[in-house]
């Protein structure tokens, strides 16, 4: 992402510009955010399919100016080393918990709810689902957005007297900064009417802090293999014509 402090080739004639400052983080495109968070989530032990969901969630949030990359980093750090068995959502009538009272992973929960589609709440008579405790709950919003669009529903996420609404257009409004600051909540997901959120602004890059970048990169590196001379041979094109 940034130029190494010790330039290995100081006489490189093509390096006509000053090196970028390392400490400042970087503006990442949504594509970069999605890919980096996917790799980091995989590096932290998520299955490839769930890691794709993590990448999706981070980019969805960044597109709406919410720090999805930081939330992903917090989540995978918190869940690092915990087995799927521990964070796997268990859905019973009107309630989702993790096994043995552990904390739910918002990516796993969001994915499970999306997979259940129209049936995500499980009970048409009582359109309400209690979930929790769930860590870094802002990561749930991209999934609620997909459910809202898929089922043409308004959904609200309520906790400690605060609320975020998700409209059938898949957009969100409400106390998003408060949700972003919560490391863990018990919440209720309700189906019903609410204010209609405006469509998200046009896409743009999102500034990712150096701490988040380096943290995510550290996890992403866990998916890579140190190169051997054997593997390097012939991998690229060394053309000398």
């Amino acid at each position: 992402m940034t130029v190494p402090a010790d330039d290995p080739e100081p006489n490189d004639p093509t390096r006509s510009g000053p090196p970028l400052l390392q400490a400042d983080g970087a503006w990442l495109s949504h594509n970069e955010i999605e890919q980096l968070c996917l790799k980091a989530a995989r590096g932290a032990g998520m299955s490839w399919g769930l890691a794709e969901e993590a990448g999706f969630a981070a980019a969805w949030l960044a597109r709406r100016d919410v720090d999805g990359p930081a939330a992903i980093l917090s989540q995978i750090t918190q869940a690092d080393g915990r087995s799927w068995h521990e964070i796997c959502p268990e859905v019973t009538a009107g309630q989702v918990t993790a096994r043995d009272g552990q904390e739910l992973c918002p990516i796993a929960l969001g994915t499970v709810l999306c997979d259940r589609g129209n049936n995500f709440i499980g009970s048409k008579q009582e359109p309400l689902l209690s979930v929790g405790p769930i860590t870094y709950p802002v990561l749930l919003l991209p999934f609620l957005s997909d459910i809202s669009k898929l089922c043409a529903l308004s959904i609200s996420l309520e906790w400690s007297g605060r609320r975020v609404f998700v409209g059938p257009n898949g957009e969100v409004t409400g106390d998003i900064p408060a949700l972003e600051s919560e490391p863990s909540i018990h919440a209720q997901i309700k189906v019903g009417s609410g204010p209609k959120p405006a469509n998200a602004n046009a896409l743009r890059a999102f500034f990712v802090s150096e701490d988040t970048l380096s943290g995510l990169n550290r996890y992403a590196l866990r998916t890579t293999v140190p190169a051997s001379e054997a593997s390097r041979a012939g991998a690229g094109a060394d053309d000398s014509d």
Binding site: P13, T14, G49, D115, A205, V225, A235
Partner: protein, 559 residues
């Protein structure tokens, strides 16, 4: 766009080749560029819409160092390729993705850059991966000179002479790109932000425009250096020689996984091409003008096959077969069958299936599309993919239905015995060194525990085995709660329902798998020609060879 609903040729469906035939590596590795290839679509658009090209900035000094701007001015928007020319010592020239210096570096600017934009880009673009570009840019790329030809051309032009045509033909380009990054890489704008523009609603249009303007730069910089060296005596490059020069490209393993990672995009590319072939085959007759255009295309293809050289054993035999096959097609035409038979294009195609090599058959496909622009060009609009729209999987699908889908769409994968070492000999991974994709030998190298999910056949088989323990009535949502490790492949399997050409139907971790087959298929869709594999892991190609230059469309700007 849902191109199925717009299909004006329902009768063509009966002529479409099945995925079991099309999606095999051996055939994909024989793909030829067609008129639906992305660079051809670009050239059609800029020609039909009267785009204007010029070079408003050319600040290059006598040592060939400096910057230039190439503008492509369309009816609604302007794009500018910003080029930085460097003076690179020979010993630093490397095409590997791990290189840190190049002869020239480029960024495609969305609009017309100010001086401040150029200064910002000058501080970043020459660094390539180590720099950052912004939302105002759409691509980042670099190119190296062909040491052999570039120097020869400059030398001859400086002396007021033309380069030796044999030397020109032997290399075919002055410079080769070693990477062209688009779509949100290194801070550039996401493709999604510009896909609503008609000119970018075909895959890789920014990249193709970048390479085409780069081709102009390669000639401009050679002529510039010849003028510096030869002064008034220096010659301009002869137009015929100039036309025969493309932009070279060396493509390594990094590109191979792309088609596997983008199943819906792959489907849409192949579907468009297959629908095009089917439409041509569905024609009840062949009018004489179309047949004579076909003959002209055949003649060009024969000429191209004569000039196309490779020393790679597999390509050498493919080329020999291709030359023979093109002669056979010529012989077939001489029999006059095109004017006699019912559905003559289909008869020709079916003749080809029995008489021609795979290389010859895929060349015939390209030739058959060539005179049928009115019939097939609109399909170019169907080749983009909204991958996000297909991302959410259907958890209500039953285990039984998923099993049935697997058995139908992955029938090629399920019988493979992965306990046999040859069937699982390779593994795909990402190198820590440069984060580039590589392929290793599972039983000889470390790292297989970090395998990338490109072993689709085995993933499908593992899923099929796991599903057997579940009730056929259970929803797949329940299965995935218990088995999150299968989520990745379930998403793909479900996608095949509406995307029949989504999967490469071969074992990508088999001992005898050739990564160059994947690359050739992708590069043919770009419009690449003269494929010259240099190993089973990388291939040299040419782009835009024998096609016009921006200066041909706007000669006044290069007078």
């Amino acid at each position: 766009m849902d191109c199925v609903s717009l299909n004006p040729f329902p009768e063509a469906a009966a002529f479409r080749r099945p995925p079991s035939e099309v999606m095999r590596l051996a055939r994909m590795g024989c793909a030829h560029p067609t008129r639906l290839s992305f660079l051809r679509t670009l050239l059609r658009r800029v020609t039909d819409q009267g785009w204007v090209f010029d070079r408003p900035v050319w600040h290059v000094d006598n040592s060939g160092v400096g910057r230039a701007v190439y503008r492509a001015i369309g009816p609604e928007r302007t794009y500018s390729l910003v080029a930085f020319a460097h003076d690179l010592p020979d010993e630093m020239r490397s095409d590997r993705v791990i290189a840190t210096a190049w002869d020239a570096t480029f960024a495609m600017f969305d609009g017309e850059p100010t001086e401040a934009d150029l200064d910002r880009l000058q501080a970043n673009v020459p660094l390539q991966e180590a720099g950052r570009i912004s939302q105002k840019e759409l691509s980042l790329s670099r190119a190296n000179r062909s040491v052999r030809l570039f120097e020869h051309v400059v030398d001859r032009l400086a002396a007021g002479e033309q380069p030796n045509v044999t030397e020109v033909a032997a290399v075919g380009y002055l410079m080769r790109t070693t990477a062209v990054y688009g779509s949100g890489k290194f801070g550039a704008a996401d493709l999604a932000t510009v896909m609503d523009r008609p000119e970018l609603n075909v895959p890789f249009q920014v990249e193709m425009l970048s390479v085409w303007l780069t081709r102009q730069f390669t000639v401009d910089i050679a002529e510039h250096l010849a003028r510096v060296r030869g002064g008034a005596r220096a010659a301009r490059l002869d137009p015929a020689i100039k036309k025969s020069l493309g932009v070279g490209n060396s493509t390594g393993l990094g590109m191979a996984p792309f088609l596997v990672r983008h199943p819906i995009l792959l489907n849409n590319w192949i579907m468009a091409r297959e629908e095009a072939l089917a439409r041509v085959r569905a024609q009840s007759d062949a009018d004489p003008n179309t047949v004579s255009e076909f003959r002209a295309a055949l003649s060009d293809a024969q000429e191209n096959a004569r000039k196309w050289s490779s020393t790679h054993p597999s390509q050498v035999s493919k080329l020999a077969a291709l030359r023979k096959d093109l002669d056979s097609i010529s012989g077939y035409l001489a029999l006059g069958s095109m004017s006699e038979s019912d559905h003559p294009w289909d008869t020709l195609w079916r003749w080809g299936e029995t008489q021609l090599s795979l290389e010859g058959q895929e060349a015939l496909l390209a030739l058959m599309l060539e005179p049928h622009g009115n019939l097939v060009d609109g399909l170019a609009e169907c080749m983009v993919a909204n991958e996000r729209a297909a991302f959410r999987l259907d958890g209500s699908m039953t285990v039984g239905a998923l099993c049935d889908r697997l058995e139908q769409a992955y029938d090629w994968a399920l019988p493979i015995d992965f306990d046999l070492p040859d069937n699982a000999a390779r593994f795909w991974y990402v190198s820590e060194e440069k984060l580039e994709p590589r392929i290793g030998f599972r039983f000889e190298e470390d790292g297989a525990d970090l395998e990338q999910p490109l072993c689709i056949a085995r993933l499908a088989k593992d899923l099929h085995v796991a599903l057997q323990d579940w009730s056929r009535d259970a929803p797949i949502a329940s299965f995935l709660v218990a088995h999150p490790e299968h989520r990745f492949i379930v998403r793909r399997v479900q996608a095949t329902e509406r995307h029949p050409y989504a999967e490469v139907r071969d074992n990508l971790i088999a001992a005898d798998m050739l990564p160059i087959d994947l690359m050739r298929c992708k590069l043919a869709f770009f419009g690449a020609s003269r494929f010259d594999p240099r190993s089973d892991k990388w291939v040299r190609i040419s782009l835009f060879q024998d096609l016009p230059y921006p200066s041909d469309l706007s000669p006044e700007a290069w007078a």
